[in-house]
């Protein structure tokens, strides 16, 4: 048991070390959400007032939790996905002949991916004063818990896909046909309360929409923007997390 915990720790530590060593990646991965927030967000906000909608500031606040969710989505997915090439060419191949179980490798990878996602998410959260969104310590830590759940779910999803699909190109296709729709239909950029029916249906099977709904509820505390009660968000997230993690561990442990 102790051996397995050390295994989990080792896999986790390696991901964290690599993250902090790769400064360009940190900057790069923060550039996208900041661009979305300050360029796209500000642009849409001002056009909203042009078209006679509510005030721009409301939209930026609305979008803010969505951008945190976006950061978490991409960070954790790509970090889990690295398991594909790592397995063929890299360090992980070596790990696979050590006496550490596949499950520990998966757990270490999930924790590594979610730790990084929590760091990235926190950085975005710390930008909140710029948008005049008040965030207390309590809110910060509650959001962090949600980020953790979302990150594990998405990482596990990445590992499930990586175990099934082993080619790099197929992975790019998935990024386009799964990740982007997941992001667009998560309520990150526009409210899902009164869109067309099919979007609502799809968003209901999208785990990210529960994560973003939970963050929005915690950060803005505005019942009008809330899709589901907070407890439901958490129940759904925890269940999907557990199912995805088990599925990831099982599929990854399958020998080929």
């Amino acid at each position: 048991m102790k051996k397995e915990l050390i295994g989990v720790y080792t896999i986790w530590l390696r991901d964290i070390k690599r993250y902090f060593r790769d400064k360009p990646r940190i900057v790069g991965s923060l550039a996208q959400p900041i661009l979305f927030l300050f360029v796209l967000g500000t642009g849409i906000a001002s056009s909203l007032s042009t078209f006679g909608g509510g005030s721009g500031k409301d939209f930026l606040s609305f979008m803010f939790p969505g951008i945190v969710g976006m950061t978490v989505l991409f960070t954790s997915f790509f970090s889990a996905m690295s398991i594909v090439w790592d397995r063929e060419f890299g360090f992980l191949r070596e790990v696979l002949v050590t006496p550490i179980s596949r499950t520990s490798i998966v757990v270490g990878k999930l924790l590594g991916g979610s730790t990084i996602a929590m760091i990235q998410g926190s950085i975005i959260l710390l930008l909140s004063p710029l948008l005049k969104i008040p965030i207390t310590f309590a809110i910060f830590f509650k959001v962090l818990v949600i980020i953790f759940l979302v990150a594990i779910t998405i990482s596990a999803m990445g590992i499930v896909l990586a175990s099934v699909i082993k080619s790099m190109q197929a992975f790019q296709v998935i990024t386009n046909f799964l990740l982007m729709p997941m992001f667009f239909l998560s309520g990150a950029l526009f409210p899902l309360n009164d869109t067309v029916k099919w979007m609502k249906v799809v968003s209901r099977i999208n785990p990210l929409s529960y994560g973003i709904d939970a963050m929005r509820t915690i950060i803005l505390n505005n019942p009008d923007l809330q899709l589901y009660p907070l407890w439901l968000d958490i129940v759904v997230l925890v269940s999907v997390t557990v199912v995805m993690s088990i599925l990831g561990a099982v599929l990854f442990s399958r020998q080929d």
Binding site: R14, K17, G90, E94, V97, P99, S167, D256
Partner: protein, 331 residues
């Protein structure tokens, strides 16, 4: 199973591995004795890596029996993983970590206590001559340095069996010699069994026993000397003005088969070349332009068995193999 010889540390029986219709390993049976250096010699795609991957629990087999230290390869993977060290054919270091960190992570995974781990890391780094670069990122290493570090890592947990898949591919002769010297020393001092594969004929000669493998089958298995003795003496290569006539003449006087060799030469085997050559040159009905005699090598053995040569790999082979792997992934 009661016919297992306790002296055998690896037992492979009727092992078969199929990849979607391709028989990469075709019903091979062999065993490796404790504390010997056992070599797999064979051309590209012979099935060497595939066999090693099955033995070290990375790949499932299609059929057959494999045991290692008495543990079954399908049922007791963890026990097997505990007693093997592995140096892969393809790079498997973390480029973004330093040498010391790579070793540290490896040691953690084998549950080596921290203090011991520190001492051993220094020890193995010294062996492969990387002590002065231990705190540099692996990214900044040359190919040879990376290889040396991988070997150091394979030794870190004092495995009972060390697998070396093409350990010296792409290294300069000096480094290669050093690595082999070290491996021989290791076998003597540490009571370790070594299983290696190679394209370099000279290198496999340090093995106690060699299996020659081609198209998934073992076509010969013996000590290097015995293998070379299967060839009838020395190898004579001749360049002459009229090969056809000469061939007939040689067949008449020696009774041995004459084959065509590279560059329009012919070759055959003869017991005692130092006595044969002077007599032969004097009596030859055809003018001899050049003649050479040499002791047989393992390459000759392979040629004899298959009619082909094992292609000697050059330094870029590792890159070729890498790009092939990449190609394989894109399917």
């Amino acid at each position: 199973m009661n016919d297992i010889n306790t002296n055998n540390i690896i037992e492979v029986k009727n092992l078969v591995k199929e990849f979607k219709g391709l028989r990469a390993v075709d019903d091979i049976t062999f065993s490796v004795k404790e504390n010997e250096i056992f070599g797999f010699l064979g051309p590209n795609g012979a099935g060497k890596t595939t066999t090693i991957n099955i033995i070290c629990t990375l790949l499932s087999k299609t059929s057959g029996e494999v045991t290692l230290c008495g543990h079954n390869v399908t049922r007791e993977r963890n026990k097997i993983r505990n007693c093997i060290g592995m140096v892969f054919q393809d790079p498997s270091l973390d480029d973004k970590l330093t040498a010391l960190e790579n070793l540290y992570f490896h040691g953690l995974l084998y549950n080596i206590p921290r203090r011991t781990l520190k001492e051993r890391s220094e020890e193995v780094l010294k062996i492969v001559n990387l002590t002065s670069r231990k705190n540099n990122l692996v990214m900044t290493y040359s190919g040879g340095m990376k290889r040396r570090l991988e070997i150091a890592r394979g030794l870190l947990h004092y495995p009972k069996i060390l697998f070396l898949d093409e350990p010296t591919l792409g290294l300069d002769p000096q480094t290669r010699n050093k690595i082999w010297d070290y491996i021989i020393k290791l076998k003597k001092n540490k009571n370790i069994t070594i299983f290696l594969t190679s394209h370099y004929m000279e290198e496999t000669e340090i093995c106690d026993r060699i299996a020659i493998i081609d198209e998934g089958k073992i076509i010969a298995l013996d000590t290097p000397d015995n293998l070379k003795n299967t060839i009838g003496g020395d190898i004579i290569t001749i360049l002459s003005e009229e090969n056809v006539k000469l061939k007939k003449y040689i067949k008449e006087i020696t009774g041995s088969d004459v084959q065509d060799a590279k560059d329009g030469k012919i070759r055959f085997e003869i017991k005692d070349s130092s006595i044969f050559i002077p007599k032969f040159i004097k009596n030859s009905p055809v003018k001899i332009l050049s003649i050479s005699a040499r002791k047989p090598t393992l390459n000759d053995v392979f040629l004899d068995l298959t009619g082909r040569e094992i292609r000697e790999e050059n330094a870029s082979a590792r890159d070729n193999i890498r790009s092939r792997m990449m190609g394989r992934m894109r399917h």
